[in-house]
Symmetry: C2
Subunit: 236 residues, 2 copies
Amino acid sequence: MEIKVAVAKTTRYAMEFCGDTCDIAERPQGGLSLILADGQGHGLSAHHTSSLVVNKAVSLIGDGTRDGAVARAVHDYLYAVKDKKVSCTLTVVSADLDTQTMVISRNSNCPVIIKTDEYTCVYDESVNPIGVHHHTKPVMYEVPMEEGMVIISYTDGIQSAGRKTNGKTADFKKILAIAEHSRAEDAEFIADSIMAYALKLDENKAGDDMTVVVMGVCGSNDAAVKIRKVNVNFPL
Amino acid sequence: MEIKVAVAKTTRYAMEFCGDTCDIAERPQGGLSLILADGQGHGLSAHHTSSLVVNKAVSLIGDGTRDGAVARAVHDYLYAVKDKKVSCTLTVVSADLDTQTMVISRNSNCPVIIKTDEYTCVYDESVNPIGVHHHTKPVMYEVPMEEGMVIISYTDGIQSAGRKTNGKTADFKKILAIAEHSRAEDAEFIADSIMAYALKLDENKAGDDMTVVVMGVCGSNDAAVKIRKVNVNFPL
């Protein structure tokens, strides 16, 4: 099998700093975790908040901390250092090779979509963001890792795209259709397509910071040697 | 401008765990850092060592720590927790937007190559790995960030490729030629080409863990919206 991860991220129009932060961490017991946070507000302060949250989560995951404890520890940390005053969403999607499951931990107002060859499922129960309420816990989901599985999430810049230009927001059915018509191998295409759809609604002037993350579980390829690859494009 | 980063990594033939670890961290004052470590030995213990080193470095860089202090702090940490008994190479390549320079910190037996439109330069002074000698410091280099700049480094699995199959090791001139005939936009191609060259010498049975890292400073593209992208392929 092969895990593919794709992230596409852009900053609110005319803003220098992005309040969304996303990172990928290797799990010491095998596998990858994709961490996505959207800090309260915009600009530099939101950027600092989400960076703080993601860096803490990356560090804990690197230590081998289980995902449920990561979300709790990061909440407690933000709650303490920002004195309960700053909220942040946090979504962690893990391909856990130790348990051969996908583990999802959500403290976000945005959904997580899981699509397999057999079913499509949307996790969007109401849950608090971290940082402001006492003893906040994540909503956790765990499903067996399957070839062909695609997991998608995003921040609310995607969800609310179009609000400023035409008063409507993104049509969730269209986002779902992109997922349903794509394969796990197309992780990059899925991320780019959802980003392109949102930017089109905002007429290329993003109304809010936008991030899309996609994780795909692909069948093994035929390469003679397994080569792990990371590619980053970072426009300044 | 746009920073492109490419990483290609493979594990020693028939080994489950890779002793090389590589990660990319966003700098809080702007820019990216590429961190590469090769832990002493092979397999799980080397994997743990290099993960420990890279995770510590990522965390410090995320805190805003300057690169020279990162290398020193990570050395002191490894030196303490492994009781001076375990060595690890550490190379950090940073695109520092705050100073508009590329900062390179080396504690490795492998070179760092810088290629610009005007010059090619190889940094390969002898320097200790971290973890075993009292108060180890990195060799530091700092050069102005320029469009067209390409920075390449790798671990010794690349350098020693071919030793087991034909008693010879990789021809550095060939690696340099790949750099000199490529552009900053081709970061992924450069990483893939150097990896392919090394694997060919080892007849597709890597004699050691191999990692190539490339950072390119490209001119700005014409896209209407700046989208930051990360793509990972993680074969299991």
